[in-house]
Symmetry: C2
Subunit: 340 residues, 2 copies
């Protein structure tokens, strides 16, 4: 580590992708914990649960029957936050501003096996999930009125996940959400100025610096970003600038699946628990524009801080000021790397 100040004193770090800052307080990692502990369910799950609405052959809440699926199963969310055919309207009444928003929300079951998570799946099976993501991104994005497709997973009760069956979601919609808009802006500006990918150039620098890299294979890097917010936040990014997961060759898709397998396994090892997180893929909008400035990547935002039961709360200061972290990105990378 060249700059030891970053390990000793409070400072802020700049997120090149969002243009925002995170406050880092490395000296504070030692404070005692007297707050709420997460509950961990030690309960071992069966491979099939007859009460689970995501298991194969079971009936969902709306009465539909799940097929006897063998790998990945995708369906339209029964309680979708976005509707496809709602009327178009806008409110422009002084300082009250609103606009209708349409979209399609889907649920994607990663496996018929109720007891598994991505960490316990074979790379070949994770690759099938990647294929399903590609298909959905392509098909949803082809829709005239869908300009952005958000693929994500909420894993664990601590992340508001209402069913432990391995699954993720896809919310696709007519406009660009806040977080995507920030990354659109930052990447576009950089690309216009430098004729190269912002994230690509950043990855070069990280690969040279080494200290935040957790794992790499021929096509992918897994690292703790310099500006990470969550204690063990990680990013998977293709070394080559690609706009979206549609550009993955078959070999690259496999290496991507391997990267997912590695990071999720390291997470589970870290505190010897099924590690909760939200993950998501940020990639080019499907708005029909060039989007050459986009370099897709997947991020993991896990809340655990010190053990299976002590999590980082993003509350008061974080909500009103900026995100804040104690343990530095370098220390976090080190701890995960040691588990390889």
């Amino acid at each position: 580590m060249e700059n030891t100040n970053l390990q000793d004193y409070s400072h802020k770090r700049f997120n090149i992708l969002t243009g925002e800052w995170v406050l880092v307080s490395p000296h504070r990692a030692k404070r005692p914990w007297q707050g709420q502990n997460e509950e961990i369910s030690a309960e071992k799950r069966p491979a099939y649960d007859e009460t689970c609405y995501l298991c194969a052959t079971n009936t969902r809440i709306n009465g539909e029957l799940n097929p006897d699926y063998k790998d990945v199963f995708v369906f339209t969310n029964d309680f979708a936050a976005l509707q496809k055919d709602s009327p178009s309207f806008s409110v422009n009444d002084g300082l009250f501003k609103a606009q209708s928003e349409t979209g399609i929300c889907k649920v994607i079951c990663f496996s018929p096996d109720h007891s598994k998570s991505l960490a316990q799946m074979e790379v070949e099976d994770i690759k099938k999930v990647v294929s399903a993501w590609q298909k959905e991104y392509r098909e949803l994005g082809a829709n005239e009125s869908i300009n952005y497709v958000q693929i994500f997973e909420n894993k664990g009760a601590a992340m508001g996940c209402s069913n432990p069956h391995p699954h993720g979601q896809i919310w696709s919609q007519s406009s660009m959400p806040n977080e995507v808009y920030k990354k659109e802006h930052q990447q576009k500006e950089y690309f216009a100025k430098n004729k190269s990918s912002l994230l690509g150039d950043y990855l070069q620098q990280e690969l040279a610096a080494k200290e935040r890299i957790i794992f790499q294979n021929d096509d992918f890097v897994v690292l703790i970003p310099f500006w990470a917010i969550w204690p063990f936040e990680a990013m998977i990014a293709p070394k080559k600038a690609q706009k979206s997961i549609l550009e993955l060759s078959d070999a690259e898709a496999k290496n991507y699946a391997e990267a997912i397998s590695v990071i999720t396994q390291l997470y589970d090892k870290l505190f010897n628990t099924s590690f909760p997180y939200s993950s998501g893929i940020h990639q080019a909008p499907t708005n029909g524009e060039e989007n050459d400035h986009w370099h897709w990547h997947m991020s993991f935002y896990p809340p655990l801080l010190r053990s299976a039961t002590v999590k980082k709360f993003m509350v008061g200061y974080e909500m009103f000021g900026s995100p804040q972290r104690d343990i530095t990105a370098e220390v976090a990378a080190n701890r995960l790397r040691e588990l390889l």
Copy 2:
């Protein structure tokens, strides 16, 4: 309600203070809950707890003794996220950007009574908390190197609060945090263009529309903002444009204390529980500039959604896309108003 579309179909609403959007899905309020439930501690607390490091006459973790305080007690945080005398440095290494950040963090005990929260305190006693906030904002802000003072409270274990003793925090620092920076920008732009307060003009419109107003007295409005993110998010704002709490007259300070008393009591009534929330005051930076565009306000971000144990999770889509809510601001205002 003039525009019934807003109660029926998904849409996004614009936050005039931050320039960002919230996704609203009113039709989704009915989905079943199968996720994690919060624990509620039904335990009645004593007025004095010998193991509490915030109670009067007790010893704190660093060995310091709390005085036998009778109303409000303020001290410097024993595990401060910001240090006053750390060295000044900056990292400008390609795409790695960081800057040292100094500051002062304080803890403010609202009352010596361990069993109380703001909701159970007399208006006169809340007014003493307001006076302490004024004193801290003035004194910290007078510091050459302090350009912003963030006053906030994390209440309840669900909001990462490590001690139930009624208390809040003040983190003051050299630069403007992300959220403040957004509001600085939006208010400045509006003020330059319209020569009036953005929030002041908005309040006028809300007072005419009535449907999101929960309570008002001569000087203050308590409302659910049009763009609220959290299910029962509320804002307290002075009707008259004021840059900071330093401009409060004695009568206004009392009316502010009353507004705090009213909203915190309504919250506790809503689900018959000591309502968790993070609250914070956004006001003019203490950077020595004019800041006439600032109109201070206090916001409450409570996580509970449907009962004392079911909260809204801001996870996957919210972290990667935009905040999302089901119950509309109008419905939430109605529910709170009914409890008056």
